[in-house]
Symmetry: C2
Subunit: 189 residues, 2 copies
């Protein structure tokens, strides 16, 4: 069992509706020493690939991205979530559906900060059905940026998003992949 | 001139309506090496006060909080912004008005992670009229947590929020205070 799986078993709580509460360390309160270990694990996996920028999406992805970027000595770029479809010409945008909140969000990044010269590592706290990740990949595609890898803290393997990305050839490094969970327990892949 | 003022002059852009664009390093793209210097400056000012948690608000405050917390060896807690006023009993909440988006947001934190035992450093990227800061202070007051200080990257001094907080006795450490700005230039306090 690795450090992420241990942390989930120690502090996570499984709730109705396939919800895993990890607010003590990952997406409300942030255990920054633990998140630095997450960043180190991503660097161990993705270092040496010429990555020059880390892309994530607000809000909780920002924490992981910030604790990862120092290992790569690169900046972070976070996509903004907007309710508006009324966007200016200065941004790339992609509409994604949030299953947690059952609503559409538009992800945007400035064209100034995502370009065809960029070699991107995408990171996020969760990967489930993969809607947010698809949005981030769409932004990279619009910019012509190359996606060198995807780093995820917790993948809900039973929702299939990660495997679809692997089938498409993406290198997805998930520190914990949950294949099943219930109030009785969590089964990791 | 300090490192924050230099960065603002190098990379910031003043736009119509008292907007200072700092998306290259502070609130869209994130210069994490620079933000670590911000965290170090907050530690130089607020270290030794028994601070055990850093509080901020999503989204861009998370980056500064994460790059500050390692100096203090403490966790971060970020307040969530919600459109809903329909909250459960497990959270403290405070309604704040966003002047940028001309709308109300409800800030919430879990009662589990903010308590009367906490000695809090609040950090944020901007302090202008102080609406978001008032919301964070209200959450601390509801929890009975003591606020040991407030660290801000950029204060728009001409909007008065910082000075009101100082009059109330808060130790507000702003790394740059802008007393006036226009397309012609920026005057720091």
């Amino acid at each position: 069992m690795n450090f992420m799986e241990e942390k989930i078993l120690d502090e996570g709580e499984v709730k109705q509706g396939h919800i895993l509460k990890v607010g003590s360390f990952l997406n409300h309160q942030l255990d920054v020493a633990f998140l630095a270990d997450v960043g180190k694990a991503f660097y161990d996996h993705f270092g040496g690939r010429g990555i020059n920028k880390i892309l994530t999406v607000e809000a909780s992805g920002i924490a992981i991205a910030c604790m990862t970027a120092p290992y790569f000595h690169v900046p972070v770029l976070f996509a903004k979530k907007s309710k508006s479809h009324n966007l200016d010409a200065e941004v790339y945008s992609s509409v994604v559906h949030s299953y947690t909140y059952d609503m559409d969000n538009t992800l945007t990044v400035s064209k100034r900060y995502l370009t065809a010269e960029d070699r991107i590592l995408i990171v996020d706290d969760f990967l489930a059905a993969g809607a947010a990740m698809k949005g981030l990949l769409a932004l990279c595609e619009q910019a012509g940026a190359s996606v060198e890898g995807i780093g995820v803290a917790i993948e809900k393997g039973f929702q299939g998003g990660g495997d679809k990305l692997r089938e498409k050839g993406y290198d997805v490094c998930s520190l914990a992949i949950i294949d099943a969970m219930s109030a009785e327990g969590i089964r990791f892949r």
